[in-house]
């Protein structure tokens, strides 16, 4: 039943993992007599090293971002479970209540350093590799399952090429929508948004060329061009995100 829930709604599972991680982290902080938000403030304000708890919350957040971008690869939930287990470790290895934040961190660091040396460290590495491998397999499976329907009358190589072209159109649509949103909300400067959109337009023209090549029967060229566009569109996504963060 749990598997069905996860498969049906991986986002809800990701959110639950994140909340569970945050709660565990906060409980571990409470055990040390510290405020619940202290793991974050250590890092952001006091420039202190991160604890396992904070790393767990951040890891779960990163996994959630990945999950959104991978269209719900259930394997990512394994990564989240992994980070959540890191939070449990956090709770287990905490020292007793400390009077100051730095005292607590020092104690935690000393204890954690000794605790993870053996045999926990190799186990953690093995689990990380295992979860990473399973996550990759699940992600590939998810991507394969996400293939949009193409004309069944096309030859198998042409169907693959059409799938890649469809994917490129999908990606460029998302890019254009986000650029428009960012420009309108002031996240991106007008000139940056225009430059990014010009790039989308250029890639869209290339997609049209790839589609024309496919319809002319040049399947190989069409597929390679569409694959190149997909890579360029992914690079454009990163650029759009980076341009947006330049704004004050």
């Amino acid at each position: 039943m749990l598997n069905e829930i996860v498969t049906a709604n991986p986002q809800a599972w990701a959110t639950l993992a994140l909340i569970a991680g945050a709660l565990t982290s906060w409980l571990s902080q409470a055990r040390r007599g510290l405020a619940p938000w202290s793991p974050i403030t250590y890092w952001l304000i006091d420039d202190k090293p991160l604890g396992w708890g904070t790393l767990g919350v951040l890891g779960a957040a990163i996994a959630s971002i990945w999950q959104v971008n991978m269209d719900g690869a259930n394997g990512v939930t394994l990564l989240q479970a992994w980070f959540a287990s890191g939070l449990v470790v956090d709770a287990l290895i905490q020292p007793g209540p400390a009077k100051t934040a730095s005292d607590a961190l020092n104690k935690l660091h000393n204890k954690a350093s000794g605790f993870i040396r053996w045999p926990l460290l190799p186990v953690l590495v093995a689990l990380a590799l295992l979860s990473g491998g399973m996550m990759g397999c699940a992600g590939l499976q998810e991507l394969a399952g996400d293939t949009l329907k193409v004309d069944a009358n096309l030859s198998p190589p042409a169907q693959i090429a059409q799938s890649v072209i469809n994917e490129a159109n999908l990606t460029l649509t998302a890019s254009a929508n986000v650029i428009g949103n960012n420009a309108q909300s002031g996240i991106m400067a007008k000139v940056d948004a225009q430059a990014a959109l010009d790039e989308v337009k250029r890639l869209r023209e290339q997609v049209k060329t790839a589609q024309a090549l496919l319809e002319l029967g040049d399947i190989s060229s069409a597929q390679s061009q569409a694959a190149l566009i997909n890579r360029l569109a992914t690079a454009l996504h990163k650029r759009v995100a980076a341009e947006a963060r330049k704004q004050p």
Binding site: W43, L44, I45, D47, A61, I62, I65, V68, N69, D71, D146, L148, K149, V150, D151, A152, L154, Q162, I165, N166, N169, L170, T171, L172, T173, A174, S175, A176, N177, V178, I179, G180, N181, N182, A183, Q184, I187, K190, A193, Q194, L197, V200, K201, R204, V207, K208, Q211, H237, V240, A241, A242, A244, R245
Partner: protein
């Protein structure tokens, strides 16, 4: 507060936004598939949606002051 953290957080939020937009379009296409659309119709719809998104983004940029 550490400005690097803010930058990373903003970049992450933008990546989430792109992923959500992609999912929204994908949902529309999947609904077409379930309604019995052919591969040819889906190809045409994706092409139209891409052109409409680009035109929409351009219109929104044009509305902004220089």
């Amino acid at each position: 507060m550490n400005p690097v953290i803010w930058k990373i957080a903003e970049m992450a939020l933008n990546l989430i936004a792109i992923g959500i937009e992609r999912k929204a379009v994908l949902s529309k296409i999947k609904a077409m598939e379930e309604a019995g659309a052919t591969g040819e119709e889906i190809k045409a719809a994706l092409s139209d949606i891409a052109d409409a998104a680009i035109a929409g983004a351009q219109a929104r940029i044009n509305e902004l002051p220089d």
